[in-house]
Structure formats: structure tokens, C-alpha cells
Subunit: 680 residues, 2 copies
């Protein structure tokens, strides 16, 4: 490419050498792709990525996603060469305890890393989400600027591998990106035809370019990963294409130019070995007797990207300051979004519900909460994996987030709209939500049936690992779903989701708990939460007779105290089963057994309370305890203890009306009363 | 189509009417697709599907998969019209407790239903698996027959919807089917452009036909779902194409011909309402004043398919008897496969390992078990989602299951090969494994890293729900994976998998436990199992000093008794942590504390033991207990009780050598000793 010289070529070869050396030093790792993708990575970081290495959080920066996280060195070496603060010692410490260079890149750990990748396909979904967030952000802050001229226009660049594109999640996300016409997204596919089982012919023979054409993408082919001019031209054309997402199918030879290990599965995930490293360095004209030995002039040349970045940033800053002055409202919103601060008085918008025996489904209450909050919180948006009406995730009257020509008679909107349509793609929804949160600014939620949390689990785990504040609206949260039967009835899901470290699972017992639950979730900026909401109506408790729903925020609270004030037995329930505990309490009290009911909307929030509060709610002296939840017993022993009883279900459900199922499967006040008597 | 007459046309309209009526009767359900796919379904069941409704288990039958399980009436009505034993009363009982017509079709529940569907995309994966199993079965029994002439040649037909094709799992499976050149697979895609959120333009605009061309499929378009002649010709061409899987993109109008609700999301998942049902019946020339009123001559005409099926079956049976006589070995194998009976003496092939401090990784032991069993169990086959070497799932010298032209320098094989290459597609692997098991005959296993069980969870749950004997080889089962870091280190997965009802999670402590674990798993025909296996070497216990590994089959057993015979504390461990319990025992015994170690390879198997055995292993009198497992504590309270202690990890791992991680995260003999002292 124009302006590229010998120092650049040496820098690229330096990247290859460092990748080999770092893996060799660690004794394990993934050298091959970092070697063959070094030209593309260097070209991107030096010429195309708009970034300021001295401010990795610059709000207008382009984003870079390395979907093939195993090739973390592809990124680490560019962060080193670009002056993000990573140094040779960090590369030397690859894959060791406490280093800045863990096996897979980790966001919030290494400056310049935009997302945690490794589980394949996720990064593609993250990149799609980032591109969507960028468009929404522009719509919130600067909708009228001509295309390409907004302060908030930026590009999302992602690298991905064969494995990424074999995973279904990337296909889902890419199809969605095509529908959304994400012109601000560029994907470089490292088409090396090698995966861990070597030649991909045994498993992956499709025409990827054609598949992406089918998705509506702009597809380019570069037949040689070493052809910098061709790649540069392709990146230019990709960036110039603003009506469709772009993919560049880049043919590379993994491990190039290692004389024996290039183009082999062995170079994917193992150190090359000292002899091969030496031979490769000789081929590249590097001194095989030294290691981690970077030519100072090469490094200085590469790090000129810092000056270019600073100057682009400064130029932007000037325009930005002018924009702030001209748009005080937008500036305040951006400030709030960037820092994830909620506006004063926002929580006053939350609805409350009067006591009501017939009640309301908690999914419906959730929809009413969202509708109430929408005016106060423009950063809040979301949608569903094709279950908008069931999940109550679409706020009436709000525009859909859609290219103008994708509107339908049911959904109007535009490119800056607010209601997301993920399609029947739960896994991509999760990965896209992560990308939106990683991009920053907006606050996203996404809905599906609780049972299909299984489909998105790979992405949910990463949200928890990355501590991203995304919210899952998981409705139809038990056998209470009824007639759709066992495939659609979650049984094990509450336990299985509580198992994920760092995820809050919130199952409100009535509409007023829903409001407090949403408030509490939105007050957290450091973790994902999943709401488990009922399909069926749940009575709204008479809060003049029982405790305030404020207790929801503490995870568990005494909803109804024993009449004597000294409970002989404690009944714990969650969600739709709290009403059963309340009915059981009535019977027990009538029989002279003082009974306390504890509502447990969120195990994780309760665990975070101090010991005194926990003891107050569940005094150790009261050993007679019964839990009731329409899910597997797993986990409840921690609450009920050796003397307690667990009313649960340890098998699959059935297709019938929900009332029938509650009876047949023993979720009745009588069953809870019997369990209480046993426990006493 | 030739031979189709008025009675056939009326039968098709009868199917539409019954679908409307059944949903109206139930008050909820999915009428729309059953109405618009009635022509295709009737055509298939009457003319193309080779089946004998009087013997739904006929081994040579074609298979039919309804991937869009919500449209269960598409299938139920054809089962009724084809004489499978479903009658009008069953349709009347749609979606009610105990009926043969649950909301989504359930295998082993309703004769003629080949797989449980509902979670979208899974049926496509099942169909791909069935087609693969059919090829493998032919290879085992009749490899030399000319194409199309084997007794075991049959076709897998599947219907799928927009939602199915939006899900990534179907894309993964379809890409695999293209690579495998599954000419015995025909997919009919109901391209109605409507999903729950109505017009799919908001979420799904890709060119599906082109995408399937990219996968290497034979793609046909039929522009009108009511054009029986065109559809018939397309089905003929699809069946005739034996070198590639076929997809027919069939344009239909959902809910056709309901005057107001056709072509709407409303007709997808709700009863049409009495007025609309009446109006539709009038359009179709049916009497709106009656319901479930089927013309006897129409039914008699449709049920002639029974005679045709019986006669095809009888003809086949004659050839089959001749084959049995000519191929006694094959006949015996088929009998064994059909009944899932293991051959005499097979378990004698299992390897055993001498005591060895340095030890062997349990994943490696698993590979040795497979290699030892392969000669005795030709029905056993499997592979990995691109991690063959890591999962130890490929037996050396065995041919790969591949079209001949897909062989590589690493993998030789052929269409009847044994080693499966799933590619980086865990979810499809799970769905395909389900299809293979549903097809019957062979016994399949599939491997990936334990952490990626998350990606396949949707399929694992269905395996458990369907009670399918598939085996997951989940290796790298803890932070013991080491340098690849937190994205690759399972923390919550053991608990989250144990949560799934009907799944056995098996985590052997040493190589000899691996052998007994595999034996026990293969002896079960009614459930899936997942092996959790170590990356790192584990010592092989000296079985002359500790109990026999036979105890593995009981789920938990006393590995080492307290020296006094009367334990003061019990240490429970699983997998790689049992050695830590053993080391802790040594320290405790040295300090005069009689200590028992219980190895707990499978919680589910232990739960199935009688009370006396469980009491023997974990006597209630010994309340001092410590569990140690490199996973979250969830679930262990049931074993250790109120007085017990749990040594676990409730946060994510890190990238470092595994020895460092065990130290840093407190998985040491010292930590277990300290916990034991606390518990005492």
C-alpha cells in the first residue's frame, strides 16, 4: 500500500516472530494464526482502525474484535506495536498467572482489548452488536448529521476464523446484520482452511462468500494474505460500502512461513518447537540466537500510530466541544450514558399495582415497567427473539430499529429505532447484547422463553464473565407455561442459571416485585441479570397486609410474618409459588402453627446482604423450613438445611393447562403444608 | 399429481379443517402452518414417505421429521389420515393432560412420531443425524449393494419453518450435511415469511436458497404451496438426487384460506376464533355447523396408504428374509443393534491400568477404552467438534465417515466410515447425535471441551427428555485445563449439567474408574450420559490398597476407609479432586483423625442406589463431611449436610498453569484438611 516501506514489512515479520517466541516461551499457545494474520492486523492497526492508543476508551474510536480469541497474540502484538502500554515483558509472560496477556483476550484486563473472546463465533455477534449500538448512539445524539460526518460515526472491524464461521451463533448474527444493513461493520475472515483437526475439508466445505452474499453482505475475496496492496484496497472498499456489512474472505496460510509447520493443524494450537522457530526466523532474516529482540527503529516506526491517533483524537475533540456547546441536552445524555449514570428521579416513573386477587402476569408487569421507564431512559432499548408479544418487550408506539425499507405493517421504525427484532436467534441475541453493552452507552434487554436460555447460554456466560449490564427477559418461567408442554417448560433452568457466577437470576412474586426488580437491576452496572417471569396471572399481594415489595432489592425478605411473631416454620418461595406458600401459611396458622413466608426473588442479592440481615430473615433457630419453587430442588438445601423440605419437580413437565399441571405435579398449598409438618 | 383426485383434495382440506377445529377446541395452539402445509404433508404421507402405519418401527421405513414442532397438527392429522391409530378423539384432546396429542410432538408417546420437536432448529439437526445413521447402518450391514438397491436404503424427509432456519443449529447441521453429501435427506422449507412477530422482513431477509447452495445442497423452489403437481415433481427430483441433500423452498401462505387471518402472525400461534373457522369452512365447502366431522369416504381413501405400506413392507420382508439367511452375521448384528443388546463378553475387552503415581489423564484413558471396545462393538462410533486429539475420540486406524473425495492427508475414510468430524459445531453435534440415536441401531458419542457443553445444551436437554443413549465426551473438565483461561475453564458446568433431569454426569477419578464408567454408560439404553474428563494426568490409584473401581457403577463408593474402620470425617471428591481428598486423608489420619474418602463419579447413579447402600457409604451418624470438586458448591449441601464444608470455586478461573491455579484457588490437601477440622 501507498506509504508502506521496509520498516512496515519488518514490523509485520516482527509480529510473526514475537508470536512464535511468546508461545515457545509459554510452552503452549496458538502461534499459527498470529503469524499468518500479522499482515492484516498490522495494516488494520496502522492504517484503518481509527484509534488513539493513549485513550483506549475514546468514545468515537473504531472498535476491533478478534473473534478467534485463541489467536490472542494477533492482538497483543499489535497492542505492543501500537503503544497501548503492553511491552515485551508482557509478551514474555503470555499465559501466566497475573499477566496482561492471558491465553484469550480479556476485556477490562488488558488496555485495548474490546471484548473477551475464545468461545468461537461470539466475537462475530459482539461485532454486530457494536455496530448496532453505534447506529443507535448516533441516532440518540446526532441523527441529523450527513452520513459519515457525524462525530459518532465509526467502524467496527472484526477478524474471524473458520471455527467462528462454523458456529451457528455467527451465522445467526450475520443474517441479522444483513437484514439490518450494517454498513459500519467489516469482517475479515481468515480463510486458512485449517482447524484443529487439520484440513477443514473433512467438516467445512461450504462456499462462505456465497453464504454471506445470501445474507445480503458485500463480499470481497483477497487470495493471498501476504498481498498487502490487495488487502488494503479491500479494506478501503469495505469501509466505503455503507449500505451493507462487508466481509473480506482472506486466503492465508496458517503458520506462514514456518518451513515444516505452515498449513498444518499442529501450528494452530501448539508451540512450533525450537528448531522450527529458529528455521522460521532464518527465513525471515531474523537473528535466531536472540529472542524478544525488537529493532528499535521498527518499534519507533510502528508507534508513530500514537501520534496519528492523538492528532485524530484532538481534531475530533475540537469538533466535539463545539457539538457539546451546541447540544447541551445531547452532551448531558452522552455523559450520563458514558458513565452509566441514571437521571435524577427516574425511579419515580415506576408503576405500582394495587392489591388484586386475579392479578397480573409478571411478564405483563415487566412490559408496563418498560413502558413507564422509556421516556426517562432513552438509553434503554431492547427486543425479543421473535416473541415480542409473549415477552412484553416491545413498548407500544416506539419505533423499531430497522432500515427504513424493512418496515412492515406491524412494525414501523427506522435506522435509529428502539425496538429490536432479533429473529428466532437466541444465541445471537445474547452475543449481540454483549456487543451493545461492550460498545457502551446504551442499556439493552432481550427476551425469549426461559427454556430457551439454553440456546443462548454461551453468550450469557460471557456477559457474566465480562460483567456486562445486560438484562434478559425470560418469560414463561415454569410448567405454568401450560399446553406447549415439556420442550417449552423450564424445569432445571433456574438452578442452571443461578449456577453461572456473576449472573443475577430474579424471579419476582408479583407485579410490585417486578418494579423493584427492574429498578435494582438498572442500578447495577457491573453484571447481567435475568428476569424469570410468569406467563400466567399472579395475584398482586395486598401490601397493606404484607411487607413492602422494597424487600425485593435485598433478594429475600419476610413477606408475611408468623402471627405470633415467633415462627415455628418458615416457608420460602419464589415467583409464582409464593402465592402457594401464602395459602399454605393460612392453613398452618389456622392449625395453630405460627408460619413465616419469605419471598426469595434473587438468591444472589440475598447472598450479598450482611449476615445480620440474613439471620433476621432466616434465623438459624428456626430449623423447620420448606422451600417451594416450580423447578428442580438443586440448591435449596442451602436454604432449608438438614431439617427442611423442598417442594420441587425433578422431572420434565407435560402438555396441559397450567392449573392441571400444578395439581398433578404437587405444587399446592396442601403439599407445602404437609412438607411443613414433616419439617417440624 | 398423477392419480390425485377429488378425494385427495378433500382430504387435504379436511386436514386444514381439523387443524383449525382442534386448536379451536383446545382454545390455544398453532393452526396456521398446519393449514398451509396440509397439501405438502398429505402428498408426502400418501406418495413419498415409505412407511407402514401398522408398524411404525419398521427398520427400513423412511423417516419424517417435523422440525417446526409447534405445528404438531401437521403431523397428528396425517397420522390420523394414514391410520397410525390416532383418531378424532385424540385430535379433540389436543394439548390436554394425558392425550396422545401434546402441544409439541413427543417420540415414544405417539406412534408415528420420530422425534420430539419444538425447540426450533433441532429437527433439522435430527434429520441430518438420521441420514448419517442410515448411511452408516447400510455400511455395516449391506455395503456392497448397488445404490438404491439395498434393503437399508431409505430417505429422511423433514419439514422446517422460518424459525428453524433462523436458528444457528440448523445452519451448522446443514453445512455438515453438505460436506457429507447426504443424498438421502430431503428438507421442505415452509417459506411463509411469517413468524410470531408477523412479517419476517423485520428480522429474516436472507436468500435461503442461495445459502443452501453455498452449503452444497440441491436447491429447488416451488412458488405455490397449493401447486401439488409442482411440489410432487420437486419431491421426485429431490429423491432422485443422491449426491447432495435437497431442500425445497416452498412458498406458502400461513393460515390459507382463512379470509382474515391468512398471512398473519396471529394465525401462527392462536386459535382463529369461531367466526373465522366458520368462514374458512364455508370457503372450503365444509359444513360450518358440524365439527370433527370427517367424510367416511375421504378417510377410507386416505387410509388406503395402510395397504400400500403393508404391501411394500411385505415385499421388503421377503427380500429381508433372504438377506438374513445369506448374511447370518449381519442379521445377528442388526438384531443386536435393533434391540440395543451388547454382545457376550464385550466388557472383557475393557483395559485396566496398574497403579501409577504419575498417572494418566482420564481423557486419555477414555480414548484407550474406546480403542479396546471398537472391535467388539461395531455399532459404536463417534467423533468430536474439531477436538479429536484433545478429546481422544478418534480411534487410530479407523476410517473417517466421509464422502471419498473429502478425505485429507490426516483423515482417510469413506462414506461408511466410523470417525465423525462434526466441525466446530457443538450444537449441531448434539442435535445430530440425537438424530443418530433416534434412527436406531448405532451408538454414538461426541466430544468437545466441557465448557462448550453450554453451546450444545439445547440438544443435550432433548436427549435427556427423549431418553436417548448418546454419550458426551466432555474433556478439559475444570480449571485443570490451565493456560487457556476463564473462557475455557468450566466452573458451573458440572452443577448445571447435573441439573438436567435424566442426564447422567460422570466424572471418573482415575483411569480404572473411566473403564467402569464407560461400561456402565453403555449398559444403559434409556438415557444420555456425559463424561467429564481431565486434561491433566491423574494418578492411577493402587487398587490393592483402596477399593475396586467397580464402585464407580454405583455412583459413589468408599474408596479408602478410615484406618479405624469408624470414620470421624468423610471426604467426598469427584474426578481430579479425589487425589486431593486422598492426600488430605493421609494428613488427617497422621493427626489421629480416622478419615474415609468417598469417590463420587456420578451423583445420578448414586441416587438410584437403595437406601441401605447409600447409608453404608454416607452413614448419617458421621456428620463431619467435606466435599471437594473444582466447580461451584451448588448441590453439594445435599451430601455434606448442615455440619459439612464444601471446597469449591464460585468465581471464574484464570489463565495460568493448572498447578498454579489449584494452589491459588485453594484446591489443596491443606484446604481440605482445614475444612475437615472445621466440620468436626
Amino acid at each position: 500500500p501507498e506509504g508502506f516501506g521496509d520498516l512496515d514489512r519488518t514490523a509485520i515479520d516482527t509480529a510473526r516472530v514475537l508470536a512464535m517466541e511468546a508461545v515457545q516461551q509459554a510452552g503452549n499457545g496458538h502461534p499459527g494464526t498470529a503469524m499468518s494474520m500479522a499482515p492484516a492486523a498490522y495494516l488494520l492497526f496502522q492504517r484503518w482502525l481509527r484509534h488513539d492508543p493513549t485513550d483506549p476508551q475514546w468514545v468515537a474510536r473504531d472498535r476491533f474484535v478478534l473473534s478467534m480469541g485463541h489467536s490472542s497474540l494477533t492482538l497483543y502484538v499489535q497492542l505492543y506495536l501500537s503503544g497501548y502500554g503492553l511491552e515485551l515483558d508482557d509478551l514474555r509472560a503470555l499465559r501466566t498467572w497475573g499477566s496482561l496477556t492471558p491465553g484469550h483476550p480479556e476485556v477490562n484486563h488488558t488496555p485495548g482489548v474490546e471484548t473477551t473472546t475464545g468461545p468461537l463465533g461470539q466475537g462475530v455477534g459482539n461485532a454486530v452488536g457494536m455496530a448496532m449500538a453505534a447506529r443507535r448512539e448516533r441516532g440518540l445524539l446526532d441523527p441529523d448529521a450527513p452520513e459519515g460526518e457525524s462525530l459518532f460515526d465509526h467502524t467496527v472491524w472484526a477478524f474471524c476464523s473458520d471455527g467462528d464461521l462454523e458456529e451457528g451463533v455467527s451465522g445467526e448474527a450475520s443474517s441479522l446484520a444483513g437484514t439490518q444493513r450494517l454498513g459500519n461493520l467489516v469482517l475479515v475472515y481468515d480463510d486458512n482452511k485449517i482447524s484443529i483437526e487439520d484440513d477443514t475439508t473433512v467438516a467445512f466445505t461450504e462456499d462462505v462468500g456465497k453464504r454471506y452474499e445470501a445474507y445480503g453482505w458485500h463480499v470481497q475475496h483477497v487470495d493471498d494474505g501476504e498481498d498487502l496492496a490487495a488487502l488494503d484496497a479491500a479494506l478501503a472498499a469495505a469501509k466505503a460500502e455503507t449500505r451493507r456489512p462487508s466481509i473480506i474472505v482472506l486466503r492465508t496460510i496458517i503458520g506462514w512461513p514456518a518451513p515444516n509447520k505452515q498449513n498444518t493443524g499442529a501450528s494452530h494450537g501448539s508451540a512450533l518447537g525450537e528448531d522450527e522457530v529458529r528455521a522460521t526466523k532464518e527465513i525471515l532474516g531474523f537473528d535466531p540466537s536472540t529472542s524478544f529482540d525488537v529493532d528499535a527503529s521498527v518499534l519507533a516506526h510502528a508507534r508513530k500510530v500514537v501520534d496519528r491517533g492523538r492528532s485524530a483524537h484532538a481534531e475530533w475533540q475540537e469538533r466535539f466541544t463545539a457539538w457539546q456547546q451546541a447540544n447541551p441536552g445531547g452532551a448531558a445524555l452522552l455523559e450520563r450514558m458514558t458513565t452509566r449514570t441514571l437521571p435524577d428521579g427516574w425511579a419515580e416513573q415506576l408503576p405500582s399495582w394495587p392489591a388484586d386477587e386475579k392479578g397480573v402476569a409478571t411478564r405483563k408487569a415487566s412490559g408496563e415497567v418498560l413502558a413507564a421507564l422509556y421516556p426517562a431512559l432513552p438509553e434503554l432499548w431492547g427486543g425479543s427473539a421473535d416473541l415480542a408479544e409473549s415477552n412484553n418487550t416491545a413498548v407500544k408506539g416506539e419505533p423499531s430499529f430497522l432500515p427504513a425499507d424493512r418496515q412492515t405493517k406491524t412494525w414501523s421504525g427506522g435506522p435509529y429505532g428502539r425496538t429490536l427484532h432479533f429473529g428466532v436467534r437466541e444465541h445471537a441475541m445474547g452475543a449481540v447484547m454483549n456487543g451493545i453493552a461492550l460498545h457502551g452507552g446504551t442499556r439493552v434487554y432481550g427476551g425469549t422463553f426461559l427454556t430457551f436460555s439454553d440456546y443462548m447460554r454461551g453468550a450469557v456466560r460471557l456477559a457474566a464473565l465480562m460483567q456486562l449490564p445486560v438484562t434478559y427477559v425470560w418469560t414463561h418461567d415454569s410448567i405454568g407455561l401450560g399446553e406447549d408442554g415439556p420442550t417449552h417448560q423450564p424445569i432445571e433452568h433456574l438452578a442452571a442459571l443461578r449456577a453461572i457466577p456473576g449472573l443475577d437470576v430474579v424471579r419476582p412474586a408479583d407485579a410490585n416485585e417486578v418494579a423493584v426488580a427492574w429498578r435494582t437491576i438498572l442500578e447495577h452496572n457491573d453484571r447481567p441479570a435475568g428476569l424469570a417471569l410468569s406467563r400466567q396471572n399472579l395475584p398482586v399481594f395486598d401490601r397493606s397486609q404484607v411487607a413492602s415489595a422494597e424487600g425485593t432489592a435485598r433478594g429475600a425478605y419476610v413477606l408475611a410474618e408468623a402471627s405470633s411473631g415467633a415462627p415455628q416454620v418458615i416457608l420460602l418461595g419464589t415467583g409464582s409459588e409464593v402465592q402457594i406458600a401464602m395459602a399454605a401459611r393460612e392453613q398452618l396458622e389456622a392449625d395453630g402453627i405460627p408460619t413465616r413466608v419469605v419471598s426469595v426473588p434473587c438468591v444472589e442479592w440475598f447472598a450479598a446482604q450482611d449476615r445480620a440481615y440474613r439471620e433476621e430473615v432466616l434465623p438459624r433457630t428456626v430449623r423447620a423450613r420448606v422451600s417451594v419453587e416450580a423447578g428442580i430442588p438443586q440448591g435449596w438445601r442451602d436454604f432449608v438445611g438438614d431439617a427442611g423440605r423442598i417442594v420441587g419437580i425433578d422431572h420434565y413437565g407435560a402438555s396441559a393447562a397450567y392449573g392441571v399441571l400444578y395439581e398433578k405435579f404437587g405444587f399446592t398449598a396442601e403439599a407445602v403444608v404437609a412438607a411443613a409438618r414433616e419439617s417440624i
